[in-house]
C-alpha cells in the first residue's frame, strides 16, 4: 500500500507561540531532545496508520553498522508506529525504557525516581482535551517513545477538528476562532506546563493530563509559571 505524502505546507506548531525559531532561541533550559511539536496534517484520503509517513525519529542507534545487507538501510520514509507494534510485552518495554534513561544520564545506580516510575506502569492513560472539541480523548503515554510520536498521535486524534480547505490550511486549529494552538500538560504538582521542555521520560512520569489550547491563551505560559495558569484549568 502506498503511503500518502504529507502536505508539508500545512505545519501546525505546538511550540511556543510566535514561531519555532524563536522558541529555540527562547533561552529556556531545553533538553536536547526537546522539539517543537509540529503537527503536520495529511490532506484528505489518508490511509490507515501503518501507511503514514512521518519524519524520522531521533536516533538511538549505538551499534556499528555491520552485517547489514547492502540494500538494507533505513526506509526512505519511516513508517508510523502502530499501536502495540512491535509485539513486545509492556513489561519488557518499561524495563528497557527505565534502563535507557539511566544509561543516558550516566549516573550511579539510584533509588527509584519519577523517571523509573514512568516506565514502571503498564499503561499511563491521560485525558486529552482540546478547547472547543465536544469530547475528550485518552492516550496511553507509554505507547510512545518521544514527543514526536505523541504529536503524531494527537494530530490524528483531533484531525476531525481541522478547519479550512485542502489548499494550505489543514491546520489543527481552534474550531471557533481558527487560531493556532499549543499543547500543554498538567503536572503532578497541578501546574500547567508547556509540552516539550523536559526529557520525555520525565514528562511521562509527571503528566496528569493534556490540553490543547489556543496560542493566544498560552502567551506567558513558561516552565513553572504557577499563577497565571491555575485559573485556566
Amino acid at each position: 500500500m502506498a503511503g500518502v505524502d504529507v502536505d508539508v505546507g500545512t505545519e501546525l506548531r505546538l511550540g511556543l507561540p510566535g514561531g519555532g525559531a524563536e522558541a529555540a532561541k527562547a533561552g529556556k533550559r531545553g533538553f536536547e531532545e526537546t522539539i517543537d511539536l509540529k503537527l503536520t496534517l495529511p490532506t484528505a484520503g489518508m490511509e490507515e496508520a501503518a501507511a503514514v509517513k512521518t519524519e524520522p525519529a531521533a536516533e538511538k542507534t549505538k551499534r556499528p553498522a555491520e552485517a547489514a545487507a547492502a540494500d538494507a538501510e533505513k526506509p526512505p520514509a519511516p513508517k508510523a508506529q502502530a499501536v502495540g507494534w512491535p509485539p513486545v510485552r509492556s513489561y519488557r518495554r518499561n524495563v528497557m525504557t527505565v534502563q535507557s534513561v539511566k544509561n543516558k544520564k550516566e549516573e550511579e545506580p539510584e533509588k527509584q525516581q519519577p523517571t523509573a516510575n514512568a516506565g514502571s506502569n503498564s499503561s499511563a492513560f491521560v485525558k486529552v482535551s482540546m478547547d472547543g472539541a465536544p469530547y475528550l480523548r485518552k492516550v496511553d503515554l507509554n505507547m510512545y517513545n518521544s514527543y514526536k510520536d505523541l504529536s503524531i498521535a494527537l494530530k490524528k486524534m483531533f484531525s476531525t477538528f481541522t478547519t479550512g480547505n485542502n489548499l494550505n490550511e489543514g491546520k489543527l486549529v481552534d474550531p471557533v476562532s481558527g487560531a493556532d494552538v499549543v499543547t500543554t500538560y498538567e503536572d503532578k504538582d497541578g501546574d500547567w506546563m508547556l509540552v516539550g521542555d523536559v526529557p520525555w521520560e520525565m514528562f511521562v512520569a509527571s503528566c496528569k493530563r493534556l490540553r490543547i489550547m489556543k496560542s493566544s491563551e498560552a502567551i506567558g505560559l513558561a516552565p513553572r509559571t504557577k499563577d497565571k495558569c491555575k485559573n485556566k484549568s
Binding site: 551499534r63 507494534w85 510485552r89 509492556s90 528497557m96 527509584q112 492513560f125 507509554n142
Partner: protein, 575 residues
C-alpha cells in the same frame, strides 16, 4: 473395567499424563466421570471466562493445583484496554469455599487484588505454590500476606507482573518457622529490599533451588547469599552496575564457583561489561541464559560469554548481539533448543543489527532448535527455505520483522514461499507467528501443511477473506487465532462458524468485520461469547477511514459454558 473397585480405577487414571486424557476418560460413563472428578488433582482453565469458577470447584472438589489464564494474548501489547476483565477474585473465592486442599495456584494475565491474595493466604492451610505471570492489580502488601500465612510455602514465582511497590516489609514477613522455600522469584518487584531480611530468609531455606532477585540487590548481598546456596540451580542476579570494585567481584566469583549445580542464569539488568568476566567460570555448566534485559552489553561482551557456554539449551538475548554474534552462538552452542532475540530499539524505523543472516547461521549450527522468537529488520524467502531445511524440528516459530508488510529484502517479493517452507518442513509445528509482506498464498500453505498448528498470530497480512478461510478450514488442531490489521471481514468470520466451538478463542482487531457480521455469529453460535470493543476514549487510534461506523475495531470470540460474563466494562459489548 467397571467391575474393578474404585480405588483401582482411580489408580489407573493416575497414570494418565494429560488433562485432555483425563477429560476423555470422564466421558466414558457416569461411574468413570465420578471417579475421575473426585480424584483429579490438577485442573487447567485456559480461558477464565470459558467456565464458571463455581462449576469447576464443584466438579473437582479435591483439586490441588489450579491454573487459570485471563486476558487474551494481545493484551501483552496493550491492545486490550485496561479494566477489560480477567479477575482472579471469583476463582480464589470459589476455591476458598469448596477446595480447602488447594496447594498450588498459577495465573497468567489476570487481575489479582491484595484482598484476593489475603484470602488465598488465609484459606488454604497446605498452600505451597503461587505463580503469577503478567498479572497486575496487587501490591507488595498482598505478598506480605502470602509470606506471613502460608507456612508451607515452597514456591513464590512472580514473572513480569506489574506490582505496586508499598515497601520492603513483605520480604521480612516470612516467619522463622518457614523453611520450605524452594523457589523465589521477585525480579519484577520494583522497590528496595532489605538485604538483611533477604539473607536471613535464604539462610533458613536449605531447599532453595531457584532464586531470582530484583535490581535492588547489591553485588555484596548476592555474594553472601550464594555462599548459603550451594545447591542453587537457577539464579537471577541483582544489580551488577556498581562502581567496579575488584574485591566485590572476586567475592562474587568465589561464591559462584561453589554453586556447582547452577544451570540457569538471568537478570543482569544494566550490567556493566567489566563484570562479565567474573561470570566466566560458570559458563561451561549453563543450560539457560537470559541476557535479554541487558542493553549495556555489546556484541563482544556477549560473544565472549556465550562462546564459553557450550552446553546452552536456552538463550534469550537482545539484537545487539548482531548477526556476527549469532554466528558465534551457532558455532558454540550445539545443544541449543530455544532462542529468543528481542529488539533493543522499538521504533520500527530504527536499526536492528540482526537480519536473516544471523538466523541462517543459527539454523545451520544449532540443529536441535525447536523454539524460536526472532525480531529482525529484514528477511528473505531464500533464508527461510534454508532455515526450514536445516531445522525441521521447530515446534514454535515466531518471526517478527519490525516493519509491517516488509517484503523479501533481496527480491521484493512477498514472504509466502519462505513461510510455506517452514510449515511444509516442520511437521510438528504447534505455534506460528508470521510477519512481513504476505498474501493469501501463505495462508493457503499454512492451511494445507500446518496440521499440528495450535496457535497462529497474524499481523498486517493477507489480501482477502480467502486467506483466513484457508486457516479456518485447514488447520485441524487450531486452538487460538489472533489477527490484527489484516483485511479479513464478515465473509471470513462467518465462513466456518462451527470451527469456533473447537477453538479456545479468536481475536481480531483493526480488520474488516462489522457489527452485523458479529451479530450474525452470535445468533448462530449461542455457545460463544462474541465480545466487541469500540472505545471512544482514544486508547485505540481512531482510524481516518472509518467510513463504516459499524466496523468493529476489536473482536474477541471464545467458547464458553458460562454465558455472557457479568463483569464486563462499559466499552465491551457482548452480543
Amino acid at each position: 473395567m467397571t467391575y474393578f473397585p474404585e480405588e483401582v480405577v482411580e489408580h489407573i487414571f493416575s497414570f494418565l499424563p494429560s488433562h485432555s486424557d483425563r477429560n476423555t476418560v470422564s466421558l466414558v460413563c457416569k461411574v468413570w466421570y465420578e471417579i475421575e472428578r473426585l480424584s483429579r488433582r490438577s485442573v487447567f482453565v485456559g480461558n477464565c471466562y470459558a467456565v464458571r469458577p463455581e462449576q469447576v470447584v464443584r466438579r473437582f472438589p479435591n483439586v490441588r493445583a489450579l491454573t487459570v489464564k485471563g486476558k487474551p494474548h494481545f493484551a501483552d501489547f496493550n491492545l486490550v484496554p485496561p479494566d477489560w476483565g480477567g479477575y482472579a477474585g471469583p476463582w480464589i473465592e470459589a476455591a476458598a469455599r469448596s477446595c480447602v486442599g488447594l496447594e498450588e495456584l498459577r495465573m497468567k494475565r489476570m487481575v489479582v487484588s491484595d484482598e484476593s491474595l489475603e484470602l488465598l493466604a488465609r484459606s488454604f492451610p497446605r498452600f505451597k505454590a503461587l505463580v503469577l505471570i503478567s498479572c497486575e492489580g496487587f501490591s507488595t502488601e498482598g505478598l506480605a500476606d502470602i509470606a506471613s500465612h502460608c507456612k508451607h510455602l515452597r514456591e513464590l514465582d512472580l514473572q513480569e507482573n506489574d506490582v505496586e511497590d508499598r515497601g520492603p516489609r513483605w520480604l521480612s514477613s516470612f516467619p522463622d518457622s518457614c523453611t520450605s522455600l524452594v523457589s523465589l522469584n521477585f525480579a519484577c518487584i520494583k522497590g528496595e529490599v532489605d538485604s538483611a531480611s533477604l539473607e536471613r530468609l535464604v539462610a533458613k531455606s536449605p531447599n532453595l533451588r531457584s532464586l531470582r532477585l530484583n535490581r535492588a540487590v547489591s553485588v555484596d548481598t548476592l555474594s553472601k547469599i550464594l555462599l548459603r546456596t550451594p545447591n542453587l540451580e537457577d539464579l537471577g542476579t541483582g544489580n551488577l552496575t556498581e562502581e567496579f570494585q575488584t574485591e566485590s567481584y572476586l567475592r562474587l566469583t568465589n561464591a559462584l564457583e561453589k554453586c556447582k549445580m547452577l544451570r540457569s542464569l538471568s537478570g543482569f539488568w544494566d550490567a556493566s561489561p567489566a563484570c562479565v568476566p567474573f561470570i566466566y567460570p560458570l559458563c561451561h555448566q549453563l543450560t539457560g541464559l537470559n541476557l535479554s534485559y541487558t542493553p549495556t552489553l555489546e556484541y563482544s561482551d556477549l560473544t565472549k560469554m556465550i562462546s564459553r557456554c557450550v552446553k546452552l539449551q536456552r538463550l534469550w538475548v537482545l539484537d545487539c548481539i548482531s548477526d556476527k554474534g549469532l554466528q558465534v552462538v551457532a558455532s558454540s552452542c550445539k545443544d541449543l533448543q530455544e532462542l529468543r532475540v528481542f529488539p533493543s530499539d522499538f521504533y520500527v524505523a530504527g536499526y536492528s543489527a540482526v537480519t536473516e543472516e544471523g538466523l541462517v547461521a543459527i539454523s545451520s549450527g544449532c540443529r536441535k532448535l525447536t523454539s524460536l522468537l526472532y525480531f529482525c529488520h529484514q528477511m528473505t524467502n531464500e533464508a527461510l527455505l534454508t532455515i526450514a531445511k536445516n531445522c525441521p524440528n521447530f515446534i514454535r516459530f515466531r518471526l517478527c520483522i519490525l516493519e509491517p508488510r516488509k517484503p523479501d529484502a533481496t527480491t521484493n517479493q512477498p514472504l509466502d514461499e519462505g513461510f510455506g517452507a517452514i510449515v511444509r518442513e516442520c511437521k510438528g509445528l504447534r505455534r506460528l507467528s508470521i510477519s512481513g509482506l504476505l498474501t493469501d498464498k501463505v495462508f493457503m500453505y499454512i492451511g494445507k501443511y500446518a496440521k499440528q498448528l495450535e496457535m497462529l498470530s497474524i499481523a498486517f497480512a493477507g489480501d482477502s477473506d480467502e486467506g483466513m478461510m484457508h486457516i479456518m478450514n485447514g488447520c485441524k488442531n487450531l486452538r487460538k487465532l489472533e489477527i490484527r490489521d489484516s483485511p479479513f471481514g464478515d465473509g471470513a468470520l462467518l465462513g466456518n462458524v462451527a470451527k469456533y466451538e473447537t477453538m479456545r478463542s479468536l481475536w481480531m482487531s483493526s480488520c474488516n468485520v462489522t457489527l452485523k457480521g458479529c451479530e450474525i455469529l452470535a445468533s448462530k453460535m449461542p455457545m460463544l461469547n462474541v465480545e466487541i470493543m469500540n472505545e471512544l476514549d482514544g486508547s485505540c487510534e481512531m482510524e481516518e477511514n472509518s467510513v463504516d461506523p459499524s466496523r468493529v475495531e476489536k473482536l474477541y470470540v471464545y467458547r464458553t459454558t458460562a454465558g455472557a460474563r457479568d463483569d464486563a466494562p462499559n466499552f465491551v459489548k457482548i452480543l
